[in-house]
């Protein structure tokens, strides 16, 4: 029996005396879905070397924050991960509250859980949907776009008045309470739109042979490498590390809910898809429990240092007017100190490292975006694969340029 000799190419060496082809993928390319750039060195269609480059969507978030009040920064956080802005608001508000040492009200915590989980669902939907567009299955994208639209139309717009730039949290509470009938609408959207959509896409993809071949074993990563690169969120859990800040460093009221943390095995594109699909179902579980437990009461802390005074006082008394004026012009007064606070955002650990020298605005805000380590891990995930694999991986790690570049 003759032994089959497979020719193995040494790294960086080509068959013929030729130079590798340099292919620019991005900053404007149908599969980047934002402005990011990957420079691929190709041999045929095989990627020999991949260099990720970022900074095309840099908007000076961190520097801009330094000249704004604590409350004004909330609206800047919308623009980080613009697919799930509500979650960024929550993460930021929690970091500042940690610095102030205040504990928000029960109702506020539940509302934050609700909006975070809805954001997680729509974020995963966009991620899977756009990933499927890149794989040539546009229909799944529309199947997920519709529930996202319903969430926006029936839940987020009535709640915040806007779609993208929600700016819903405040230091010490929320901008306002849930509108009337929001809970019923939330249940309706889950039952009639979100769950059927997940079932539809599941039926179209999960056992689809072409989908499995395109994703299984594509862009795998070991748990060790994933941790070393700083992966968090679904991409880390797909590699088999059950790290979920909602469980491991529980915040808000996540310890009161019964939910599971799905983990994958190979850390490949298929596992990332599966983890995201399951996380949406788990988020639905959390939302339903939170709606059942949702307590009444105020949404803001009963503390005039953080709360805007009621409008009657503002218009009716000089103290109220002055209080309001100081709030708006000087901002919420936050004690000096440093704090790092992280939440489990849709893409992973969204951390805010905040330095305060006292006063109405931050001295420095450093965001730890979940996308950054994922993007720096792209060469590890893609080198040796083909261009088509790169596209599949890029979609599945869900890089949001707004968060990557800030």
């Amino acid at each position: 029996m003759t032994e089959v000799v497979t020719y193995k190419r040494e790294a960086g060496k080509l068959d013929m005396q030729a130079e590798p082809m340099l292919l620019n993928i991005g900053p404007s390319h149908p599969a980047t879905h934002a402005t990011l750039r990957l420079i691929a060195e190709l041999d045929g269609e095989t990627i020999l070397k991949l260099t990720p480059e970022f900074g095309y969507l840099h908007r000076c978030f961190e520097k801009e924050s330094e000249s704004h009040t604590w409350t004004q920064v909330v609206t800047y956080t919308d623009r980080l991960n613009y697919v799930s802005p509500l979650m960024n608001n929550v993460g930021y508000a929690m970091a500042v509250e940690k610095l102030c040492g205040i504990d928000v009200t029960e109702r506020c915590k539940y509302i934050r859980v609700l909006i975070s989980e809805f954001s997680r669902i729509i974020d995963h939907m966009v991620c899977i949907g756009t990933n499927m567009v890149d794989l040539g299955a546009l229909t799944n994208f529309w199947y997920f776009w519709k529930p996202r639209e319903e969430v926006y139309m029936h839940l987020i717009e009535p709640l915040t008045g806007t779609r993208l730039t929600t700016g819903y949290t405040r230091i010490g509470g929320m901008a306002w309470d849930l509108p009337d009938g929001w809970e019923e609408k939330a249940r309706g959207v889950i039952e009639h739109v979100i769950l059927p959509a997940i079932a539809d896409v599941n039926a179209l993809l999960t056992k689809n042979r072409i989908f499995i071949e395109r994703t299984m074993g594509v862009g795998p990563i070991t748990p060790k490498d994933a941790i070393a690169l700083g992966f968090t969120g679904p991409c880390l859990r797909a590699a088999g590390v059950p790290l979920d800040l909602r469980k491991d460093e529980t915040y808000l009221v996540y310890d009161r809910f019964d939910f599971d943390v799905p983990v994958g095995e190979e850390g490949d594109t298929c596992d990332r898809y599966m983890v995201r699909m399951e996380e949406m179902r788990q988020s639905v579980r959390i939302i339903l429990q939170a709606l059942d437990q949702l307590p009444g009461g105020p949404v803001n802390v009963d503390d005039p240092r953080f709360n805007l005074p009621p409008k009657q006082e503002v218009y009716g008394s000089i103290e109220g007017l002055m209080n309001h004026f100081k709030h708006i012009m000087d901002g919420v007064q936050v004690p000096a100190g440093e704090v790092y606070s992280a939440t489990e955002a849709a893409n992973g650990e969204l951390g805010y490292y905040i330095v305060s020298k006292g006063g109405g605005g931050p001295y420095k805000i450093k965001v730890r975006p979940p996308c950054f380590p994922l993007f720096q891990g792209m060469p590890r995930l893609c080198e040796g694969g083909m261009i088509a694999d790169l596209i599949a991986v890029l979609g599945s790690v869900n890089i949001i340029a707004g968060e990557l570049d800030r």
Partner: protein
């Protein structure tokens, strides 16, 4: 006089067939968009109006055509001008030529002359079809090469490999049909499919060659560059593949070629495997059912029914193309190659072998 008559008939056949196919292509672009919208829970094209009528967006192909015609015919500086301009023609022309041998109805007798409803009843029939479809790859390679840019080059590379690989399976998959019907003439193949198998089942290609049908259909999708084999374009990976650098009417010609492949493909599937113009149990005198019943019909009605049958089959397969496109994802390049050489090719050889044994046993 007789020569003039023949000439008129020949021109009429060419004109009718071409006009039919080109119109069908236009309607198909609309059906693609509307069908996709229907599957994806959205409205689809519904804005273009004539006299206040939208008619479900049916005027959009017209608007598209006008737009493409009036756009600047831009040629980038870095392209090879001659090949760049030739490529769209090379893509479209062979597709148009393929329809010449497809019979779209039974021979009719007018003024004592028998006229086959077929532009040319070549005795090499199927071989001509493959000769023509083999040429379409030149359009794609030329476009990829002449564009002198990286994404089109990758697209051209992919498509040349893919189309050549699947040409093999496409050719081998219909050898079974040729063996069963003992002819490469398409008119003969269609006529043979009018017979009944064991007195009940119409002897269609799909009945006697089920495996051949599936192989042919898959290879056809690859030949027509349709999802799941649309890697040459693969819009999210290599932008627009071989036609990245094309605009205005040249791009439109590539689009037309793509949809023309759909029409030709549907016509071929219908002709080879679904009886072409044959209507089940319809003889030239009327319906003849297996139980001995028969319903007499005038000749004109029979002719219309038969042409209608072909039309219905073509519509169905064209819809199937659209249906598949909006349902499943795209293969990866190496997976397409693996499927072509490691699955399709052995299966088509097996099909020929099995057909041969079956024919020997029957004989």
């Amino acid at each position: 006089m007789s020569g003039l008559f023949d000439l008129a008939v020949a021109v009429a056949r060419i004109a009718i067939m071409l006009i039919f196919c080109l119109t069908f292509v236009v309607v198909l672009t609309w059906a693609e968009r509307k069908g996709a919208a229907y599957m994806q829970d959205r409205r689809g094209p519904n804005r273009a109006k004539i006299l206040g009528l939208t008619l479900g967006g049916i005027f959009h192909p017209l608007a598209d055509a006008i737009k493409f015609l009036f756009k600047e015919d831009f040629i980038p500086d870095h392209v090879h001008r001659l090949f760049y301009q030739m490529a769209p023609m090379f893509a479209l022309a062979p597709a148009l030529m393929t329809i010449a041998v497809i019979p779209f109805g039974p021979p009719v007798t007018i003024a004592g002359k028998t006229i086959p409803l077929q532009i040319a009843d070549l005795n090499v029939g199927i071989l001509y079809v493959f000769a023509m479809s083999g040429l379409t790859v030149y359009g794609v390679i030329l476009a990829g090469w002449a564009s002198n840019s990286k994404y089109p080059l990758l697209g051209g590379l992919r498509s040349s490999a893919q189309m050549i690989s699947y040409e093999v399976s496409l050719g081998l998959s219909i050898i079974g049909v040729v063996m069963v019907f003992r002819s490469v003439k398409l008119s003969q193949i269609v006529a043979s499919q009018g017979e009944l198998l064991w007195g009940i089942v119409p002897q269609w290609g799909v009945v006697v060659q089920p495996l051949g049908f599936i192989l042919f259909l898959v290879a056809l999708y690859a030949e027509a560059n349709r999802t799941p084999f649309d890697l040459p374009e693969g819009e999210s990976e290599i932008v627009a593949g071989f036609h990245t650098e094309y605009g205005s009417f040249k791009f439109s010609m590539f689009m037309m070629a793509e949809y023309f492949h759909l029409v030709v493909g549907s016509l071929l599937v219908a002709t080879l495997f679904f009886g072409g113009w044959q209507f089940p149990y319809l003889a030239s005198s009327g319906f003849v059912l297996p139980g001995g019943f028969s319903i007499g019909l005038p000749g004109a009605v029979v002719l219309l029914l038969r042409i209608g049958a072909l039309f219905a089959k073509v519509v169905f397969f064209a819809w199937l193309f659209i249906w598949v496109r909006w349902t499943i994802p795209r293969f990866r390049y190496d997976q397409v190659m693996r499927l072509g050489w490691k699955v399709m090719l052995p299966l088509s050889l097996l099909n020929i072998f099995a057909t041969g044994i079956a024919l020997l046993l029957v004989a």
